[in-house]
């Protein structure tokens, strides 16, 4: 299992559209993916869960991934976060 942090760098935080992009990605992964924000754990394969975290811009998020493709899953997520979900940076 890996547990690392990522920072949300887009201007609007994780709203509906980035949440959809995250779930599109995690749904293809075999590993379990969990987002932890301010003590709340969320299944990153659920768009409802991810949206409900309401992660604001500049926040730091802990990501736990457990499974055979955990490294690949993390690097893909990292890429998505670094690209600001194709949105404007904060």
């Amino acid at each position: 299992m890996i547990s690392r942090s990522l920072i949300v760098t887009n201007k609007l935080g994780i709203h509906a559209r980035p949440a959809g992009m995250i779930v599109d990605l995690t749904a293809q992964m075999k590993s379990n993916v969990t987002f932890i924000f301010e003590g709340t754990r969320a299944n990153a394969k659920s768009i409802l869960n991810v949206m409900m975290l309401a992660v604001p811009p500049r926040a730091s998020l802990t990501i736990e991934i457990d499974g055979e493709d955990e490294e690949e899953a993390f690097s893909k997520l990292e890429q998505l976060f670094n690209d600001n979900f194709n949105e404007e940076p904060a």
Binding site: R17, S46, L48, N49, A54
Partner: protein, 603 residues
């Protein structure tokens, strides 16, 4: 609202006359059909161990049916309205498959032994409450999606899904509801609709846009009509004035028949006028173009006598939950361009911001959004989005009839940078093997600074389009939504007339045309001034074109030119208005011009 005590024909039902917002013109009389918010009975029930299996089976079947139904609605939306509207249903599908919803329901059934109805009710209600408590407006709005889904799932469980099939009505009806949601609208067939009347919703709501596209009269903002009206009640809908009469009396009905006859006659005239040239009696030709909001409207504008599209507001493509792709944009633009070819089509690039928030781009907490991060400023900051739009536009321009219009230009650098980007996009497409025809690039004249620099701008733009709403608002420093000063929003203020005149002089010196695409272009008195000041093109809602044509064919350019040049030196708007009324009110009445309203009330 007034309740009359007059005798009712064959009924003792009270007559109501309610003023609302005119959202689509025309007249209709018929029976009310209510689109009621459904109520579902739900009680907390415990089931036996043996029943779990069958409840879970019912659950899978229900979810499958719901998924199919939403997919069907999505497809029909795609076909009838557009890709953007169809996206609403994509997120519904994603939520429907979400494990945090499905697992919670399944566990409630299999572990807690609750009935399926109760499990669905409690799971979705809990989610709605959680969303409503989130401290972010964007997230709170998602609760609406969950409500829509809740209603749909229970409709399917109850097998009471609202189906508005052709066979269900023996005659077309007036649809009355609190608000018409996209999913309801999409399932209504146009043969069944006489009119729409709703409690809420504005001119840009889905219902209004669709009503105009379907050419069905519609009035919204009627506050409590959905509570007052009952199925089968008689109703008159006046979509031109924005009035409805519930349970009309004999006088109302006679009045309705009169108006309807006149309107039909106008419609017939429209057909005969279609072929006539919009030319003044002394032979000056004025181009009449249509403003449209939906790509689908493009097919019909020529029936109204428009010889092109003067303004397609592309931001309507961007109102969905996610940004449209290049392909989606290209398809929408191509539909409009090819429907009108070889006539010109002016497409305005994304004009987000101000009062038009685009969910993914806009910042909603600006202190002063009308003077904020909007329009061309957004486009030049978000070049990624702008370039995608430009590429889609260039690729859609197969027939070479595209004119690109840049909004809210306040200086030369914005025009130069945009033209540079267009060139770059064209070169990039060329590298991909796609050669695109050359395209005219014009600018909106709506910021006073652009008028002050209009001579330089005329040298570098291919055409001007005056956006009168913003130009008046910025020049007179009047926010017309503020009721305290709404009467100061004066289109005929000599300052405005001078700005328009200066724009025309500078444009004609460089040999480029000037269009007016704001609401002024459809006001009968304003038309006289605009033509008098030398404006070449007027662009307006399609149904205003016939009247404009009538006015143009009744006047001499030399007369209105003299009047307009005088008006430039009048003291104030009131002087201009009273002069115009004295001179033309009778002539307009003789022509049968019905739409004129005092200019300061024009909205």
């Amino acid at each position: 609202m007034t309740i009359s005590t007059k005798n009712q024909p064959n009924s003792s039902l009270p007559r109501y006359l309610i003023n609302g917002l005119a959202t689509s013109p025309g007249y209709a009389m018929g029976r009310v059909y209510k689109i009621a918010a459904k109520e579902f009975t739900i009680v907390e029930e415990t089931i036996t161990e043996e029943a779990v299996e069958s409840e879970l089976r019912l659950f899978r079947q229900t979810m499958e049916k719901t998924f199919k139904e939403i997919t069907k609605i999505k497809e029909s939306t795609l076909e009838r309205v557009g890709q953007n509207e169809a996206r609403i249903f994509d997120s519904h599908l994603m939520i429907l498959k979400d494990p945090s919803l499905t697992l919670s329901i399944q566990q409630s059934v299999s572990k807690d032994h609750k009935s399926l109805r109760w499990s669905i009710h409690s799971s979705i209600t809990a989610l709605i409450q959680q969303f409503e408590s989130i401290d972010s407006e964007m997230m709170r709005e998602r609760a609406l999606d969950l409500r829509d889904l809740y209603n749909r799932i229970f409709s399917i469980l109850d097998e009471a899904a609202p189906t508005f099939s052709v066979g269900q009505f023996s005659e077309p009806v007036i649809f009355v509801g609190h608000e018409l949601t996209p999913s309801i609208l999409i399932s209504i067939k146009s043969d069944n609709v006489l009119a729409f009347a709703t409690d809420s919703g504005g001119r840009t709501s889905h219902a209004s846009i669709l009503a105009r596209a379907m050419q069905v009269p519609s009035v919204s903002g009627l506050r409590n009509i959905s509570a007052l009206a009952h199925d089968g009640d008689m109703m008159i809908v006046d979509g031109t004035l924005g009035i409805i009469i519930l349970n009309p009396n004999e006088d109302d009905i006679a009045d309705y028949h009169n108006k309807q006859d006149k309107y039909r006659q106008q419609q017939r005239e429209l057909f005969t006028m279609r072929q006539l040239e919009p030319m003044t009696r002394d032979g000056k030709f004025i181009t009449l173009h249509a403003n449209i909001e939906l790509p689908q409207e493009a097919e019909k504008v020529q029936d109204f006598g428009a010889t092109g599209i003067g303004l397609y507001r592309s931001e309507f493509l961007f109102f969905g939950n996610t940004l449209p792709t290049v392909e989606e944009q290209c398809e929408a633009y191509k539909h409009i361009l090819n429907s009108l070819a070889p006539n010109p089509v002016t497409i305005r690039t994304l004009d987000a911001g101000g009062d038009k928030l685009v969910s993914e781009i806009s910042i909603s907490n600006e202190a002063n959004p009308f003077m904020g991060w909007r329009s061309i400023r957004v486009c030049l900051d978000r070049e990624d989005i702008f370039r995608e739009q430009l590429k889609a536009l260039l690729q859609a321009n197969e027939k070479g009839n595209l004119r690109i219009l840049l909004p809210m230009i306040s200086g030369l650098p914005e025009l130069r940078r945009s033209k540079e980007l267009i060139k770059t996009c064209q070169a990039e497409l060329e590298e991909e093997g796609i050669t695109t025809p050359s395209v005219e690039v014009g600018i909106m004249i709506e910021v006073p600074a652009a008028v002050m620099q209009v001579e330089q701008l005329a040298k570098e733009a291919d055409f001007f389009s005056i956006g009168t709403n913003d130009l008046i608002q910025f020049t007179l420093a009047v926010d017309r939504s503020n009721e305290m000063i709404a009467d100061m929003f004066q289109p005929h203020h000599p300052a405005i007339l001078n700005m328009i005149y200066n724009t025309v002089i500078a444009a004609h010196k460089e040999g480029i045309p000037v269009a007016v695409c704001g609401e002024m272009s459809a006001d009968p008195f304003s038309i006289l001034l605009l033509i008098g000041l030398g404006v070449d093109e007027l662009s307006m809602t399609p149904w205003s074109i016939m009247e404009a044509k009538k006015i143009i064919r009744s006047i001499n350019y030399e007369d209105v030119n003299e009047i307009a040049l005088h008006a430039l030196h009048y003291d104030d708007a009131a002087c201009v208005d009273s002069f115009l009324h004295k001179r033309f009110a009778q002539a307009f009445a003789d022509l049968g011009i019905t739409s004129y309203v005092p200019a300061q009330k024009a909205k």
